[in-house]
Structures are given as structure tokens and as C-alpha cells.
Symmetry: D2
């Protein structure tokens, strides 16, 4: 019997990508589609790339509309998930693509989000050490942020193998869909095409504590992270360039080994052959992650680069992958490793 899924926030980019994946998922039937300001409009106007749902009407995001589904995906602004989830009952699988339940530390939450901490849910990044265990049978999932997905997958093998000092530097370029569909002047096509600009520099971006949390958990000590996100002239993709000071005596072979151990058996994370580097274009529309690492002996740093599609592995794909694990389905169901390239 098919699993029935609702999507709250169906008018946005994350919601659209969740729907795209669910339409291709053999075990899922799509139920309610909800949004707030777009309620009442046909989905075809909002997501013209999904003709199979063009005639469906968007409903308001209320507990009543979302009731009666086996899975509810939330792709909502921060702060909206807790109240909704509370009304959906403990047996419904709630997959939250927002930030509300990602952070363990209430103080960090309050410092970066300025509101009371809602709690912490099982974290939907299966490729982290122990990542699958927390998801099996879960009925609440906090989907990671797109940057934390790219950065954590780049750096955790370094810290798991104790290869680097606990201070990482990350510069990550993201396509504009990561900033959502909200109407802001700096997101106009005229502004973004042909231009790159950083934002949230100096530790101000809200994904910083999430990255710190993930890496610190693996390292067993606090890993400081200097994180600079950059808006790039492309619709999709994150390229995360990460580095950390190598511990004394670390060799290039040890770096390679750490990544082969980490990702040798992973379907969605691909350690590239030596000498080749990730490209966001190669993972567009896919749940794949490309990773490469190198030891810069002159600078004494391990440099790791990862590429993901921010909307797929970085949001909706990670959400579906985690859902599959939680429901006991094959982990890759409805997901692809193939990018739409060029």
C-alpha cells in the first residue's frame, strides 16, 4: 500500500524539489500540497516544471489539511515547524527541512536565531558516522542545512581520522536557489548573473553552528569553523572548499585512506579518482556528492572540496533519503546519482 505524503511549503524551491522527487518515488502517493500566500492557486502556476501536478490546488498550511498522511514534509520558514508537528501526532513521520530542530545546543540556537529553542530531532545526514542509526524508525527528522551537508561530508573523515587541528576554514559558493524564492533586490537575475558576492561573513551565517556541531561530534572536541558563504551566478549547486591544518606527520596517503574508508561503500558520496576535482554541474538534480581531498605539503593544510546540488542532496534529496531509512525502504528509492549535465 502506497505511503501518502503531504508537502507544506509546496510553492517554494525546496517544496518544488521535494515534489519532483516524490513524483519519481515508486512508493509514495502525493497528498496535500500546502502553502500560505499561494493557497488557492493551481500548482501549475507556481511549479511549471511539474506538469503532473499542474491541476492540483494549493491548500493553506494547517494541521487539518496536513492530517491523514503517513509522511509530512515541512519546507517552511524557521519557527513554524514545532507547532505544526505537535498537532500531527507521534506516528506521522515529520520531515522538517527547516532549521528548528537541527541544533542540540539551546544557547547556540538562541544566539543565531533569536528565539526559544524548540528541541532537537534525529539529524538527516545518513553518511555521518552513526547517521543511519538515529534515523531508523524515526518519526521526526531534522533535515540538515545545505551548507552543513556539503561541509560536513567534506570534513568529517578528516576529523574521524584525527588528521587535522580543530580549526577549519570553509568558503562555500552556492547557487541562488539556496536563498529561496523571496523577492529581494540582490537576488534579481540582473544582479546575480555575472557576479559573485559573499554574505554572512565572519561567522554570522546561521549554518555556522550546525557545521561546528557536526564536526565537533566526530572530532570529540570543539572544531572552530571560519565559514564564508558566497552567492554564485548559477541556480543550483554548492561547491565547498574546506581546509584545516594537518597534524604533524600526516601524509597524503593517510588523507586518501581516510576518505576511502569513509566513502568506499557509500552510494551517494563519490570520492573522485586522484587528480580530478568536484564540479557542481555534474550533480545537478541528483542526490550525489562529489568529494576530493589533498594534502598541501607546502602550506601544511588538508584541502577538501565537495560538490552537491543544494536543492537535492542539500535539501529534498537528503529528506527523501532519510525518509526512506526511517520507513525501512531501500535508502536510494526515488533518488538518482546522475546529474543533468551539461
Amino acid at each position: 500500500m502506497a505511503i501518502r505524503a503531504a508537502v507544506a511549503g509546496a510553492s517554494g524551491y525546496a517544496g518544488g524539489e521535494i515534489l519532483r522527487l516524490l513524483l519519481g518515488h515508486p512508493g509514495i502517493t502525493i497528498g496535500a500540497l500546502t502553502a500560505n500566500s499561494s493557497a488557492g492557486r493551481p500548482l501549475g502556476e507556481l511549479q511549471p516544471h511539474l506538469p503532473a501536478l499542474a491541476g492540483r490546488t494549493v491548500e493553506p498550511t494547517t494541521p487539518e489539511v496536513l492530517a491523514g498522511h503517513d509522511v509530512v514534509f515541512l519546507a517552511l520558514p524557521h519557527g513554524a515547524s514545532a507547532a505544526l508537528a505537535a498537532e500531527l501526532g507521534p506516528d506521522v513521520l515529520v520531515v522538517d527541512c527547516g532549521a528548528d530542530f537541527r541544533l542540540v545546543d539551546a544557547g547556540e540556537w538562541e544566539r543565531f536565531y533569536g528565539s526559544a529553542h524548540a528541541g532537537t530531532w534525529p539529524y538527516g545526514l545518513p553518511e555521518l558516522p552513526g547517521g543511519r542509526e538515529v534515523l531508523r524508525g524515526a518519526r521526526r527528522i531534522a533535515v540538515p542545512g545545505c551548507y552543513p551537508t556539503a561541509v560536513s561530508l567534506a570534513l568529517w573523515p578528516v576529523y574521524a581520522a584525527d588528521l587535522a587541528e580543530p580549526e577549519a576554514v570553509v568558503v562555500a559558493a552556492s547557487g541562488t536557489s539556496g536563498a529561496g524564492k523571496g523577492l529581494k533586490p540582490h537576488l534579481l537575475g540582473s544582479e546575480v548573473m555575472g557576479s559573485m558576492t559573499p554574505y554572512g561573513v565572519g561567522g554570522a551565517h546561521r549554518h555556522t553552528p550546525e557545521i561546528v556541531q557536526n564536526l565537533s561530534a566526530v572530532a570529540g572536541e570543539r572544531v572552530g569553523v571560519s565559514f564564508t558563504p558566497v552567492l554564485a551566478p548559477m541556480p543550483r549547486g554548492i561547491l565547498a572548499t574546506c581546509s584545516a591544518k594537518a597534524r604533524d606527520g600526516v601524509t597524503a596517503g593517510a588523507v586518501r585512506d581516510a576518505f576511502e574508508r569513509a566513502y568506499g561503500d557509500e552510494v551517494f558520496v563519490r570520492l573522485l579518482p586522484e587528480g580530478r576535482w568536484p564540479s557542481t554541474g555534474a550533480v545537478v538534480g541528483s542526490n550525489a556528492v562529489q568529494v576530493q581531498a589533498v594534502l598541501d605539503e607546502s602550506a601544511g593544510r588538508i584541502v577538501v572540496v565537495s560538490a552537491i546540488d543544494n536543492l537535492t542532496k542539500g535539501t529534498a534529496g537528503g529528506a527523501v533519503q532519510s525518509m526512506n531509512i526511517a520507513l525501512g525502504l531501500p535508502e536510494g528509492l526515488g533518488l538518482s546519482t546522475m546529474g543533468v549535465a551539461p
Copy 2:
């Protein structure tokens, strides 16, 4: 038992897209992958977006390597298909993405291609009138050109309903992948980004006679076509803006009716609701076609716009769809109507 398919020209953009679709096709097993100058290299270097085939080695394009498959896709330069097909035997389904067997008129072939006419194969555009009949059971298929796909689907309903004079004007913008992977200065990223430029203006483009052939067959008289292709700053997509002088007395309703009749039952061609216009972004990676038509009463012309992905519906998707029909499989197997957007 799975159908075994080989792809000749696996290193190029068309070949890569065929492989991407076949990897997602439940009835197909991928056999030999061949190319010429890239023979001997791992496919992972040439098509990094297809990790499932990364370890496969590209073989030379010879009849021996291509032998023993149920289906052989040819994505080769013009002129190479006839000799290969002759060696593959009559029971193998040969799907040619090149131009060699598209034109009926030998004189037109010689005028535009400068070589002897190889013949004519069943034409792989199922949505044309009678399009499916010629494909059922076929063992040779000529896949249409990308521009003729977009333009023919835009205009044939106009001529089937005898709504316009037999002189069409077409301006079609294409993403750069339509020009292939060959190294030409004007295809460099620095040249194409932020710029648009026409080429093959004035009837010089080789897709012109193919468009004329398709429209004339429906109209029952020769339809002259002024065709201007334009290189656009995007990797994929064709937006074809087509118009023809309306016959006296044609109404807006008659135009709409003609398209509803033509496409009401089609899965891959979507006539948009009135007032909305096609966008190439909505069909990226999909086999879908978006179409909209309007009567410009002041100018006395019917204007039709279509959008396709040149690599999918315009090449590889059309090839797979035609293969499905030829082999008696469900027509949409392995194909999607969902674009990867934004």
C-alpha cells in the same frame, strides 16, 4: 529479459544524455559504449555526471564492438551512420541521432549536406500526425533534429487545421549543448555567457529542409520557412518562436481548438493554460514540450512558441521514446515530464 543497448558516440553530449536516460530505463541494460578519439578512456572522465558508468571503458566505434545488442544508438557526426547500420543486421534496432536518414528528398540532402543521400528511415517524432504508426515495429529510426522537433511541434497543428498561409517565420534560441562538445572559439564560456548571436541565417542552417519537410507533409503543400537559429547563454533548451500569416477569418478560438485537438491526449506535449508562455527552464532534463499559441489580430499572424530541452526531447528523449514505440514498450518508459527547475 532485459534489452541490451549500445551507444556509439558515448563521449559527446547526445551520447551522455542517451546514457543518462537509459540508466533510468527499467527495461534496458547498457552494453558497449563507444567513441573514436576517446576510445580507451574511462567514461568517468568524459561524463562525470554518470557515476554508475564511471568505471566503464570507452571502446572504438566498430561494427564488431556494436554487434550483439538489441538496440544501437548512434550519436555520430553526419555521414557515419549508413555504413555502420549496414553491418548491424536488419533485426537490430538502430536509432540514429544524426541527420543521415531524416530527409526524403535526395536533392535537398545533397544541397545542404554536400554528399550522396543515404536514404530515409522512419522518423522519430511520435506526436506528428501518423508519427506513431511509422515507428511501430521499426528497426531503423531517424531521430529528428532538435530544432525541427521544437518547430514542427509548434506549427503542425496550425497547418493540420489549415489556419495559416504556407510561409512560416521561425526564430529559435538554443542552448550551447546543441552545438556539441567540439572545440570552437565561439563556444567558449567567455564568449557565450552574457551574449546572444544568430548563425546560419538566411536559410543556411541544415535543419531548414527538415522543418520544411515536416510542415509540408501536414499542410499538403510546400511550406516555406524562414529559419533563424540563435545561440543563447544557457547549456540546454530551445525556445522556438514561430509565426505564420493567418488565413482570412481565422479566430482565436479556432487556434486554441487546433492545439487542444492536437495535444489534448499527449503526455509529453503540454498546451499551457491561456495567458502563460513556455519557458525552457521548466523542461530541463525532461522529455516535455511546452506549447502556447495566440492569434495576433493586429498583425494578422498566428504566433506559436514551444520550449524543449534540446538534449532530451530534442535528441535523446525523442530517441528513447521512439525506441519504446518500436519495441512495443510503454511509450514513456524511462522518460520524465518533470523539469529540473529552477
Copy 3:
């Protein structure tokens, strides 16, 4: 003594381009910069590419602020120019980049703009026949629309030489800056990158009557125009692909001759050598126009393609060029024929 110029609408794209050109104009001093919702903000926040004016404060757009200048450029929404101009006095040169005073026919104005016709000012397209005469000594100038600039310069030589029937078909792709800085969902970078889409199809675009007016004036009879604008994934540039049915007996040589006569002495309009075609990338940031024409003997049509920068020759450059003529300055002062390419 330097000429003092004010710019109303200094916060938008047209206003920014006017300022960029005036900063490089040796005869102009920049006076008041005004806007409405941005009044009170430093220009550096609104036009970060103009550091020379970064510290200037934007003032409200009022007659008082605009008083006391020799030239006032208006880059305002439609309908705002007439009242302002009336208050500025007859000796001030008012250069209106809006549409209010472009159309001669009041009925056409009302049909396309839905308001009362404000009147008609000298039209700022010097390269039209008689175009310079109307500008000399003028104190009111209506700057043409960006599409009409590109299309009129492409087609008037055809009609001046009576080479074609009075029915033109135009498909023109524009960069997104032509749509302005207003916050609209379809102008988000995520939507426009990698996508092309038409708008205002079927004669609905407001530039249609302006194109008709210009071509009809040259032809001496009404020229019908089927005009389809297309939004292209680039910040700047218009590529206009125009065609018309050749009159009987017209030769390729006659077409070439017409354009050589029209543009042989023009500084800013360049008829390309035969066989080469315009590219918007080559004219970015410049006041140059690239033009090429060909006779398609098979289709019986003359095809002309022009490329401009919509913000420069299409708006601000045309405005400055017209101002120069009106004030008796060298026509090209402060303007460049060099594009910023690649």
C-alpha cells in the same frame, strides 16, 4: 562652463547607466540625484558600481530638487514625466527615458497605456532619416524604447529602399535589466538563469506601436509588425531578429547597398562585413549597434539582425547622444563604441 545635469530615477538601472555615462562625459557636472522610495539613502548602496558618487545622497523627485539644472534626465515610471516637465521651464533640456512622449497617435497611446496621451516630443534616435534635425536645439526629448531602437535601426533601411512588403516579423531577446529593478518573481536569478521565455506575445507589448510608428514613417505606409519579446539569461543586451517579405526582384546586392547607404557614415551603427553576425556581447556597455542583413532567396525574405546594449544605446546612451545633439556638442561626447567583452 560645465553643463549641470540632474537625474530623476537615479536608483534604477536606467538611472544608473545615465550616471555612469555622465561621469565619463567631459562637458557635464552631475547635480541632483533623485528617486522616490530610495530618497535619503546614499547612492553607494544603490549603485555600488559608481564609487565616484557613493557618498551622494538621493533626494526626493520633486520639481524643487530638479530645478536649477541645464539638463534633467527622467528615468521614471510611465505617467510621471509630464507634470514634472511642466514645472521645469521651457529652457531646461528635459530628456525623458520613459514612454510618455514617444507616440504620435493618441489612440495608440491610450490603447496600449490606458491613460490620456501627454503629447509627443522630438524622438531621440539620431540614425533615423531626419533623426538629427528634430533634435538640434530641442529642449524636450523622448528617448526611444530599447526594443524600438534595436528594431527600427534594423529595418528602416529596408523600408527606405522599398525592398520589402509592409509586414515585418520581429523576435527580440532582451537581457533582464530591460525589465528593471522591480521585485517580480519571474525576474529572480534562479528563474532567469538557464531559461528563456517570451512575454507580451501577440502584439501585447507596449513597444509594438512605437516600432510600427517608426517603420511606417520611413515606409510612407503602415507597416504591420508581429513583435515577440523574449527574456534571455543575461543582464544586458538585445538581439533583434527581424524579417520581411522581399518585394519581387529584390537582390542580395540591393539589400547590402541599402544598408551601406544607411550606415556608411554612422559612427555608432556598424554594418558588419558580410558573413559575420551581430552579438550582444560585443556591444555591452557601449553605444554601438551591430547590424547585418541577408536575403533568404528560398524563403523570399530579407532577414536583418541587430544587437545593442539595452541600457546604453537602448536607453542611457541614446539619451546622452540626443542630448549632445540638442546642446550642439559633438554627438559622440562621453560615449564609446567599444564593448566590454568578453
Copy 4:
């Protein structure tokens, strides 16, 4: 009397940008234009954005052709400059945009370039401490690399004020024109649009020792640099995100002060108001540099971001600015601080 300048390498992107700037330089007359494989062709085919030179014929790059000029710009592959310069005589100002004479340390040259060290010329980055002194009256100038320009201007104030430890981490995204006009598969538009990918990771890029040299000279000790260049989907621009561990006790105010001291009097380098960050779009076509710095107290690092146009300030603009100083002309002659935006 006008200064006569020749440009060797006039067919490439750097050569084209030098010509664009020289055409707008009031003190320069353009003499010979040379190239190798393009010799004999009209410049209009190679640089269609420079109509003023369209009729000029490209000559071969030989000492004879380059003789008789006051200034010779060399925009040639590495290794070609020394022999040419030797033939041009000591009184000719030779401005080399290649790498041959940038590095002081012969060992570093040989390690990164694999050939014998040609020597060291005065370095063309006037905004470095003492940068103008070495250029006054010079007759040989080594124009910096584009990345070293962006990175050195970002970080030298940090080291001049002794604010950070001598280990910097730099991730710099560059537009594709930085890779030149050579035909390489990864530079095709289809590959670069919508994609980001790093290259030369781990210290392998040839600009690394030049960055180290510049920063070490200011710091008075060797500054190690982890440098990762990234190819970005835009034609022009470099965004350099640079950071270094703050020395104990460094305050945000001290960081701001260091940059105000460094750039308070500079025309081309603009320290942005606090809270605003550089954008490459704002400097396209200009010689301007945008810089912003911040202290990340949590991560303990100073983060500095700079934006330049790689072809202008990063190559041709830097070359012209240095020429102006060498010849005793006003430093900004022929150069602009205004970007072509959007």
C-alpha cells in the same frame, strides 16, 4: 606628442582588454598589433567589440614589427617575453603581462614553471607599500597575475599591521576569461555555465609563489598560503575570500583601522562601508578594487574579501596604471573606477 604603443598578443583576452583601455587613453596612439597564429587577419574578426580597430591587420610578433614604439605591451604565453624584450632596447617601456619577470626567487620560478628564471622586473602593483616607487621611470614592468592582485590587495594591510599569523587561506573564484582563449574542453560554455569547479588545488597553481612573495615582503617573514582557485560561471571577475588567524588581542577596530590607513587615499581600491561586501559585478570593466574586512571573533580569524575584474585591474588596467606611473603621466589616465553594472 602622443606616446606610441604596440600590443603583442592582440588576439587574446588580455590583449583585447589592453586595446580597449588604450583606445580610451588620451595620451596614447596605438601602433602595431601582433599575434602569432592570427597574423594576417583583420582585428575585427578577433576582437569584434573594438570597431575602431576593426580594419587593422594583425602582424606577426617579431622584434621588427614591435620596433619603433615608445611602449610595448606583451600579452604572450610564458617564456616568450625575455627574448623579445632584449631586442627592443633599454629605452622602450616594456610592460609584460606574462609571468616571466614576476618572481624574485629563481628556485620558486623553476619549481612552478619548469624553466630557467629570466629575471625580475619592477612589479606593477602600485597600491603595495612602496609600489609606486619601483615603477617611477621604469622601462620594464612585470604586471602581476590576476589572482595575486586580488589576494595581495586583500591581505597586505593585515600583515603590514602585524594583525595575523603568517599563514593565510585563500579561496578565489575567477571568471573564465582568466583562463584565456585557448580551446580546452572544460572551458566550453556548456561546461562552465551553471557549474563551479576548483583547479590547481593544494598549492599547485602558479600564482601561489607570487602571492607568498608579496605577502612575505610586507610581513617581513615568510607567509604560507593555502590557495584554491575556482572556475566560476561568469566571463569576468575575481572574488578572493582570504583569511588568517588573528594575533592575540587584535580587535575589530584595529582591523578596520589597518584598512583605512592602507586605502584611505587610494583611488582604485575602495574599502566598503562596514556591513557591505564586495561584488565582482560592481567592478566589471573597471580598474576598481572593492575590499571589506572583518574579525570573526568566534573563529579567531580575520576575513578579507576583495573583488576585481581579472582582465582590467587584474591585467590590462594594472598594466596601464603602471605604465602611467612609469611615464610620469597621471596615474589614472585612461582608467575608470566605474563598473559596467548590472
